[in-house]
Amino acid sequence: MQPQLKSRVHCADREVGEVSKIIMDPLSHEVSHLVVSMNGTGERQVPMGAVQMVAEGLIQLQSSSSEVQGFPLFKRDDYVTLHEVEIPGLERHLHVTPGEVLVPFPELERNVKRRTFFANLTYVVGLFIGLPLVFPVLKFLMKPMYAPLDNGWLKIGNIEKVKTDDVGVQFEYKRKVKEAYLPEAEIEKNVWLVRATPPVLEKVYQGKDMEFRDAAGKTIWTNKKDLPYLAFSGKCPHLGCAYKWRKHKVLGQVFLCPCHLSIYDASGQVLDGPAPRPLDLLPIQVSPNGDVRIIDMEFKAGTKSQTRIV
């Protein structure tokens, strides 16, 4: 039991006064001292060690009244009240109020039934407001996420640019994009072309023509296995960076991605590095006058299989 304010304080011989204040220890959150008002002759600070017994409205000290007179006088300036300082959790340890502090309970609140019902009703009303909004908000935000795929052919340059066999040549081209309400804009993109020798072609096509199909499974285009030109999407199939044709100390001339150091040979096969699949081949047409056309496709990076996203 904690000592209470206003408790009478008894010494071994006689009563000496009443508890006027209580001092807490901020670390242990326990009562450390009592301040005893000595029947009008000042306040003295009594350590809890000197307390023999705490009862309802009564504190029994071990000391005699003359010993209590020897305890130090209470110095108010050495202390602050609980309201002026923040000691987390101290209030929860404190039971020194002399009694309950009360305010009247309003008449209208006295016989209200179904309090839980009303509390839950607020949640239900909240749900009625919130739930119908979920779908519209989601659709609102998702509007541009799934653009239809474009299978149009795009002229990217002339094949005369390719001078050597089995060497990557970058074709930079502009592509018109129309995003939402914005005016049509041009973005720069690039693909890599390789004029492949038969062994490289064999590595790529393995004796079979390559078919490109749309989502419904309809064939869009077939790359013939004997056309010696390969067009690779400029996007690295590892994490979507842009790779380059570079000289490697050990592997010779290769496609190398500077981001995570994936390395591919002229046929697009992975030689080294973290890439999960070969470079992505695109549908290609070379007209008799040397114009190169491609279908600009992009595939999801980082997967073993191809998933077309553009």
Binding site: D25, P26, L27, S28, V80, H83, E84, V85, E86, I87, P88, G89, L141, M142, P144, M145, Y146, A147, E172, V177, E179, A180, L182, A185, I187, E188, K189, N190, G234, H238, L239, G240, C241, A242, P258, C259, H260, L261, G273, P274, A275, P276, R277, E298, K300, A301, G302, T303, K304, I309, V310
Partner: protein, 370 residues
């Protein structure tokens, strides 16, 4: 007229105003409550990082709002408006560069703050919730860095975002949806810029303010942990209040951070690369330095192939995140002294050293590529 000194008897206008407000809101009591927070074991220089982070956030908010006076978040104007801020607007170069270096300061101080809480064992009972909210705040800080990086719309911005979003795409089940949601389409473009902009200037600040408030509230509920050494008597003997000694140290810390950030902004102002386009030319894409270690570790052979990539970009970072979230719940040993917690110490050293090693090797790799 009586012109004798009247300060004691007649309050000045300022005092009257103060008294007026104090009567209505209890200003003195509020100030006392805010400032008289007992710091067990006394104030220390080690405790400055929380306040410094708040200071950095306030500075980022101010510089960020100022930048928005000129910045336009559209694909055809973002680059030009950023160049305009850098080259034409008076002190624009400084405010933009301060904002840029401020993000680095934030990351450095977040790391210091978290390390300290970890090493001091201050996440333990009863402070588990502070730690949890702190981890979410850490995620918000990284998200701030990632979304803000795109806004200048130069090549660096474009490619860091392209690769970053591809990493998000590797998340199981929801990856494709979240990546498309962030990009606002299959590839980065205007929709991406709009989304990153609104996330950077509205969503993240609102979330950060709310959670930082909660973080502080929870901190005040539990109180400071104090040092891990010392008997209660020793701690009590050294205990002081938040004001003035700790606040003094915090303010010095803030001044140091301000000086360093300003110096970096002054001597290393932001320089933009070419405008963003899906054709990087000679530029070698790279994220901001505090993401370099993730970038570099994805180059490891063990993270090659589809599964390896899942391990490197999702499973490992995810496992680390979950471990940190659960830390205060499985580490129930009340011992806070780091020298008696060998696993915690080794774990911290290994993580810090590997982050350093990966960052340094990413920087060394740069030269190898050129």
């Amino acid at each position: 007229m009586n012109h004798s000194p009247s300060a004691r008897t007649e309050p000045t206008v300022a005092e009257k105003v103060f008294t007026f407000v104090d009567e209505r809101v209890g200003l003195k009591l509020l100030a006392a409550k805010m400032l008289n927070e007992a710091v067990p074991g006394g104030s220390r220089w080690a405790y400055v990082f929380g306040s410094i982070l708040l200071f950095i956030f306030i500075m980022q908010s101010i510089t960020g709002v100022l930048l928005m006076f000129y910045y336009v978040p559209t694909a055809d104007h973002a680059y030009a408006s950023t160049q305009y801020i850098l080259h034409d607007v008076d002190y624009g170069w400084f405010l933009l560069s301060y904002h840029f270096w401020g993000s680095s300061a934030m990351v450095v101080c977040v790391f210091a703050h978290m390390s300290q809480v970890f090493l001091w064992g201050a996440y333990k009972k009863p402070r588990e919730l502070i730690w949890l909210v702190g981890l979410v705040l850490f995620g918000l800080v990284m998200a701030f860095g990632f979304t803000g990086y795109l806004l200048p719309w130069d090549q660096r911005a474009y490619w860091a975002t392209t690769v970053g979003v591809e990493i998000v795409d590797k998340m199981p089940l929801l990856g494709d949806f979240i990546a498309r949601f962030l990009k606002g389409g299959p590839t980065p473009g205007q929709m991406t810029l709009s989304r990153f902009f609104v996330i950077h200037v509205m969503v993240l600040p609102a979330a950060l303010i709310a959670l930082a408030g909660l973080h502080l509230f929870l901190f005040r509920c539990a109180g400071p942990a104090g040092p891990f050494r010392g008997t209660p008597t020793e701690l009590k003997a050294k205990t002081d209040y938040f004001f003035p000694r700790q606040i003094w140290k915090d303010v010095v810390g803030m001044a140091v951070v301000f000086a360093c950030t300003s110096a970096l902004a002054f001597w290393e102002p932001v320089v933009l690369l070419e405008e963003a386009t899906p054709d990087p030319g000679d530029y070698h894409p790279e994220p901001e330095w505090y993401f370099l270690f993730i970038f570099q570790h994805l180059r490891l052979r063990m993270f090659s192939g589809e599964f390896g990539q899942f391990l490197g970009s999702m499973a490992f970072p995810g496992a680390l995140g979950i471990m940190l979230l659960l830390l205060p719940f499985f580490d129930r040993n009340p011992e806070r002294n780091i020298f008696r917690r060998p696993f915690a110490l080794i774990g911290w050293v290994v993580l810090t050293v590997s982050i350093l090693l990966f960052t340094v090797s990413a920087i060394i790799n740069r030269e190898f590529l050129d």
